[in-house]
């Protein structure tokens, strides 16, 4: 499977079949890019859901129905507001990069174990008996 793309939105909306859902989950387990994308979608949606309802200003509808040249100004204003909202939404959906704190001692143990299976096991596994003293 390549990247999930549109399947992710369908996955968030619960529109996938159980089989598709299972395949998407398996892919997410191994694909950091798609996990990030899923996070963007989730954050974007939360942001939109979190916006308070806004009442139109007093006289808005009356002014809207009045045939005047103000239409043009209103349209420009609406477009500007829309653009600002889009920027805010996109910014909210931008990834918050997770902070990695590499546990070097644990990585050393993992490496020692895997490397000792392919080479000489005696000289390979022996260093694991000496504790690695890397501390934060």
């Amino acid at each position: 499977m390549s990247h999930l793309d549109d399947l992710l939105s369908a996955y968030v909306d619960g529109e996938l079949t159980p089989g598709e859902e299972q395949r998407v989950r398996a892919h997410l387990d191994t694909c950091p890019e798609c996990r990030r994308e899923l996070q963007f979608i989730g954050e974007g949606r939360s942001l939109v859901r979190g916006l308070p309802p806004v009442d139109p200003p007093f006289g808005f509808y009356e002014r809207l129905l009045r045939p005047q040249r103000r239409w043009a100004r209103a349209a420009v204003g609406a477009l500007a507001a829309g653009a600002a909202a889009s920027v805010a939404l996109m910014a909210g959906a931008a990834p918050h990069e997770p902070r990695v704190r590499p546990n070097v001692a644990q990585l050393v143990d993992a490496h020692t174990a895997s490397a000792s299976t392919s080479g000489d096991p005696l000289s390979g596994i022996t260093p694991a008996a000496v504790p690695v003293s890397f501390r934060r």
Binding site: M1, S2, H3, A26, H27, D29, T30, C31, P32, E33, C34, R35, R36, F40, S86, V87, A88, M90, A91, G92, A93, A94, P95, E97, P98, R99, V100, R101, P102, N103, V104, L107, V108, D109, A110, H111, T112, A113, S114, A115, S116, T117, S118, G119, D120, P121, L122, S123, G124, I125, T126, P127, A128, A129, V130, P131, V132, F134, R135, R136
Partner: protein
């Protein structure tokens, strides 16, 4: 039954480079392959001195080692055990932990003579036993000198040198008794914690992470494994094994453990670590933190690290989102 609960790792055979259940691609005259077979078949007990270089300081530690019935046990301040392809570690307070489940098998190494010249270098004596000395040479420099016990081919001494001939690491039996069963034969633990990795099918990885299949100095990828959010890619050139760990995210150098050394790699900061079994180098690039490690000499490790392809996000959507975030944050006062 040795285990109360059987190990049920979700191991998927790696496509195009599958773990081969202990089989080695190395040729019949690979001395390390001979040593592996001898370690699995020969009963022995003794003590080993490990030496390793950290910057200019040569450290050493002594361990008790024994083998019988295909089980190897090394005991120091921790205990490490090899049972077939399974690897276990005992830490005081932590109990036994399974580092490598037998279900994952052993990665199949490239042939040693693809990249090295293997030559006999006479005979010697180690811990009272006659040995055949074998040198492993690359670009005219001896990289390893092995002492194999003359009858069993058990590895009694292994010395690793950097490209300038300086001793980097040594494994030496000070005392050994070969052939007799150890008085207390190593026994495998009943129920270790199952914390080992799982194999990852190559096709489940995104295209950007399928690279690099090869690294500088002839290292070929043997397998991909994952544990939690860490992806481990295993490479070998037939002699040394390397692990490239990838973690998704950013790195604050203050979060790195010590002792560490700061070095420059390709113009960027990187941090190195030494331990009895090898060297490690950690750096960050793109949206990934990389840690490359192995028993390869430090100069070669840095060369190999420099050849790791960095996958920067080129997604237009990603860049647009980042630009919007910068814009909004600038209005908020740069928080």
């Amino acid at each position: 039954m040795r285990r109360a609960v059987s190990f049920a790792v979700a191991a998927v055979v790696l496509l195009g480079g599958a773990p081969a259940g202990g089989a080695h691609a190395a040729g019949e005259h690979d001395p390390l392959d001979d040593a592996r077979k001898a370690a699995e078949q020969t009963p022995f007990s003794g003590s080993v001195t490990l030496q390793w270089r950290d910057a200019s300081v040569l450290h050493q530690d002594q361990l008790v080692v024994q083998g019988a019935h295909g089980t190897l046990l090394a005991e120091g301040r921790r205990s490490a055990m090899a049972v077939g392809d399974e690897r276990l570690l005992y830490s005081p307070g932590g109990g036994w932990q399974e580092l490598w489940p037998s279900g994952l098998g052993a990665a199949s190494r490239p042939d040693l003579d693809d990249a090295y010249v293997v030559r006999a270098a006479g005979t010697a004596t180690v811990a009272g036993y006659a040995t055949d000395v074998v040198e492993i040479v690359k670009a005219g420099a001896v990289r390893e000198r092995l002492d194999l016990e003359a009858n069993t081919k058990l590895l009694l001494q292994r010395r690793q040198y950097d490209s300038h001939g300086v001793l980097e690491r040594a494994f030496t039996f000070d005392r050994i008794k070969i052939g007799d069963q150890p008085t207390t034969a190593p026994t495998t633990p009943l129920a270790p914690k199952q914390a080992g990795p799982r194999a990852v099918a190559m096709r489940s990885l995104p295209g950007s992470e399928r690279e690099p299949a090869q690294l500088a100095a002839g290292y070929r990828r043997l397998g991909v494994y994952s544990q939690g959010d860490v992806v481990q890619m295993v490479y070998s050139d037939g002699l040394y094994d390397l692990s490239l760990f990838q973690q998704d995210g950013g790195l604050d150098p203050g979060d790195l453990p010590s002792p560490r050394q700061t070095v420059r790699m390709e113009g960027h900061a990187a941090w190195t670590y030494s331990w009895p079994g090898g060297e490690a180098i950690t750096w960050t690039a793109g949206h990934t933190v990389y840690t490359l490690m192995g028993d390869v000499p430090p100069d070669e490790l840095r060369t190999v690290a420099g050849s790791v392809t960095v996958h920067r996000s080129t997604s237009v959507a990603h860049r647009l989102r980042q630009a919007c975030r910068v814009l909004v944050e600038s209005f908020r006062g740069g928080r």
